[in-house]
């Protein structure tokens, strides 16, 4: 939908051949396009203007390097300035200090506060090894407190017991008291969503702030926010003086101009970005990534593909872990078959296992065939859950039933069971080797694996 800035600038400079230095007239023409690009990326107008002024000063007279076009040179200057403005140093969340340290989370309705609160709590408790207590002060949205409680159970972080009818300040005070008595290091306060123009609700969050003196007050904001980002950030900062911003939904395809707007009007760092619905989808802020995104230089499609790759990689790693434990029933085999189908064959999976180089070549030679995986999965699907857990119980009559159910012959069922048996044996062996510290020989094919390769 958006043309990339490089394309647009390329158009402007088409008529121009290489020059020694950028002339003011060229720069102004180029910056008009930069302005539109930034506005399309939802950077707020006042921020765009101040940015353009800065870049103009830097670009006029800048010498054009031999290897690039004038357009590319302008893009580089723009990009560097964007990165500088977004904050070149990454700033984390500070939770050191006399416990309990209070982290308060504020923002508009639906910006992702509760999810973010839980993600940060998980991060602090796992990475910083702090004892964290979460409390929801959202007494307005139905089931908001319940939501934080459930998330707390999922990530194994304690939440303050819910008492109906308490005010946000009451709850916050109770959380602090509980933290002191029970030795929590950090208290995370998840506040209700509120509009920055709602004076009554802003007074409420100020009262919470006054009662708890948070070390961090984080503004959670949607990265898809438009021009209003400046108003939201400026008002929240003015009224509760935020210490940083967390941008959510960075896994969307928004251009993320809000990042620049918020950073510029508040001067406060963007500390973290939310990149998904899973509880560990919280990342440090990378200014250069956001800069290329704002400029439309990062191809959305390739970004999406990259995201897809990571997901598959995670899956494969989880599988490898499971295999290392030495447990392996037919459910696991089916999971594996599905993973392989999804990952476009066994090669990529094998590549992640140690000592599988030879196997990988063999797999490539045998021309992996998806239909074999499908058939094998169908055989397992035709078993009862009990059979999948205890393959030993599969006798001749069960085999007949399974074969009929999956549309194959009994020999094929036998083959699958044999393969599973060998693999399970190998898993046990491998896990024992792992425990005794011995790794499998590089390039040695573990028994059973050759059966995975369809022949003929």
């Amino acid at each position: 939908m958006f043309d990339s800035l490089s394309d647009k600038l390329g158009g402007i400079f088409d008529g121009l051949k290489r020059r020694g230095a950028l002339k003011e007239a060229d720069v102004i023409a180029a910056l008009r396009e930069v302005r539109v690009a930034l506005l399309e990326a939802d950077v707020a107008l006042p921020v765009v203007k101040s940015f353009i002024d800065k870049v103009r000063t830097k670009a006029v007279g800048a010498s054009v390097l031999k290897s690039v076009t004038p357009g590319q040179q302008v893009v580089k200057i723009v990009n560097d300035e964007l990165v500088a403005m977004l904050g070149s140093d990454s700033v984390g969340i500070s939770v050191d200090g006399l416990p309990p340290v209070v982290v308060m989370v504020v923002g508009l309705q639906g910006s992702g506060k509760t999810t973010t609160t839980a993600k940060i709590a998980k991060r602090i408790s796992e990475k910083d090894k702090k004892k964290v207590l979460m409390a929801s002060l959202d007494v307005r949205r139905p089931a908001a407190q319940e939501q934080l409680k459930i998330l707390g159970e999922q990530i194994d972080v304690k939440t303050l017991p819910i008492i109906a009818g308490q005010t946000p300040v009451n709850i916050a005070e109770r959380a602090l008291q509980a933290a002191r008595l029970q030795g929590f290091d950090v208290v995370m306060l998840d506040t209700a969503g509120r509009l920055h123009v709602d004076t009554a609700l802003m007074a409420e969050v100020q009262a919470v702030r006054g009662a708890t003196n948070p070390q961090e007050t984080l503004l959670v904001a949607d990265s898809l926010t438009g021009q209003d980002a400046v108003n939201v950030a400026r008002e929240f900062d003015a009224q509760v003086s935020i210490t940083g911003v967390v941008l959510t939904r960075m896994d969307g395809d928004g251009r993320g101009g809000a990042a620049l707007s918020m950073r510029h009007v508040t001067g406060k760092p963007i500390k973290l970005v939310g990149t998904g619905e899973k509880m560990d989808a919280l990342e440090d802020f990378h200014p250069e990534r956001v800069a290329s995104r704002i400029l439309g230089m990062g191809d959305v499609v390739s970004l999406v593909e990259k995201a897809g790759e990571t997901i598959e990689k995670e899956d494969a790693e989880r599988m490898a872990k499971k295999m290392a434990k030495g447990q392996f029933d037919l459910n696991d085999l089916r999971d594996q078959l599905r993973q392989m189908k999804k990952m476009g064959g066994m090669k990529s999976v094998l590549g992640m296992l140690p000592g599988m180089g030879k196997m990988k070549q063999a797999a490539a030679g045998a021309q992996m065939n998806d239909s074999v995986f499908r058939r094998q999965e169908a055989i397992i699907n035709s078993m009862t859950p009990k059979e999948r857990l205890k393959p030993a119980m599969i006798n001749a009559s069960r085999k007949k039933r399974i074969a009929a159910g999956s549309g194959v012959g009994v020999p094929e069922v036998n083959k699958l069971l044999k393969m599973h048996m060998q693999m399970a044996k190998m898993m046990r062996k491998m896990s024992k080797m792992g425990k005794s510290g011995r790794m499998p020989q590089p390039g040695q094919m573990p028994p059973g694996f050759e059966n995975l390769i369809p022949r003929g």
């Binding site: 107008l45 639906g110 908001a144 319940e146 509009l195 920055h196 949607d222 438009g226 999406v304």
Partner: protein
């Protein structure tokens, strides 16, 4: 929570007043006794962009302004009139209330949108409106993903007096939609509103899941879902265009609802959406109260956006 009764127009104006003052204040600033030249036009275009109207619409409106008036003295009232009529011309064809056909038995409404747009809250408000109008309404808690989403809809159901069909978290949303529809048919419900989990439009697997929900519903009842609504957050910038585009392709969106117009966000991207996709805009949300969901009126929205001409 205060629930004092105000006329809906007053409410709408209260909700939109901030967008209005931002744009019209700027317009007054630019055009009081000034010639319409390239510089003023550019400033005007900027002001429209600030309202999230988008570069294309802003350019079109400024072009219309300059057509016969370039280099002439122009008053700010005149500017506002042209602005309002231009915006209104784009919005009028899409300002259509949601039509319920109770012969559908039930009339099925599927709610979609990105995370945090305000789907569940909007459902609560819609259900209230239909129940007050004497309809039998059932809700389906199709957000089986987010923690406590089911409970949230359940509380709305209790508030407005509508049965809520639920399944445990992690259940298949399409299966739940199917069951709810089955129940709605046997219980002779007029309107079934199905909530869905928030999803980003660029997450292919989640969009595929939404597509499945639509297919399952249409298999059970021909013609259903009769309305598939996309809920847009007014604070969203130009990304709303992507959302309408992709949700439209996957789930055949039939209409839009814009929420959170009571903040300082201008919601101007709705104008860009109207121009580009021509999808009906059914309602706008101007507050957290149950009666804060209002029908969408093009002229009033446009007038409120650029400021009243008689002011």
């Amino acid at each position: 929570m205060s629930s004092e009764k105000k006329g809906w127009f007053k409410r709408l104006k209260a909700g939109l007043s901030r967008s209005k003052s931002a744009v019209s204040g700027g317009v007054t600033g630019i055009f009081t006794k000034r010639k319409l030249n390239a510089e003023t036009l550019e400033e005007l275009e900027d002001l429209l962009i600030v309202s999230d109207l988008g570069v294309a619409v802003a350019g079109r409106v400024t072009k219309a302004l300059s057509k016969d008036r370039f280099d002439k003295e122009i008053s700010d009232i005149e500017v506002r009139e042209v602005l309002a009529s231009e915006i209104s011309a784009i919005l009028t064809p899409v300002a259509k209330p949601l039509m319920i056909n109770t012969e559908n038995r039930p009339h099925v409404i599927l709610m979609t949108g990105v995370n945090g747009a305000g789907k569940t809250t909007t459902i609560g408000k819609m259900a209230k409106g239909y129940i007050d109008g004497g309809k039998r309404v059932m809700l389906a808690a199709g957000d089986t993903f987010r923690a406590a989403a089911v409970e949230q809809l359940q509380i709305w159901g209790d508030r407005v007096g509508a049965p809520v069909i639920t399944k445990p978290i992690g259940s298949d949303a399409a299966a739940l939609a199917y069951e709810a529809l089955e129940r709605a048919i046997t219980e002779n419900i007029d309107i079934l509103i199905i909530d869905t989990a928030g999803r980003l439009h660029n997450r292919e697997e989640l969009m595929a899941e939404l597509g499945k929900i639509v297919r399952v519903i249409s298999k059970k009842l021909e013609g259903a879902p009769h309305d598939t609504l996309l809920v847009l957050d007014a604070t969203t910038g130009q990304n709303a265009l992507h959302q309408v585009d992709i949700f439209g392709k996957v789930a055949a969106i039939s209409g839009l609802i814009m929420t959170k117009l009571d903040g300082s966000a201008r919601g101007g991207v709705l104008v860009a959406c109207a121009e580009k996709f021509k999808l009906p805009v059914h309602a706008i949300g101007v507050g957290e109260n149950i009666e804060d969901l209002q029908p969408f009126n093009a002229e009033e929205f446009a007038a409120a956006l650029v400021g009243d001409t008689e002011a």
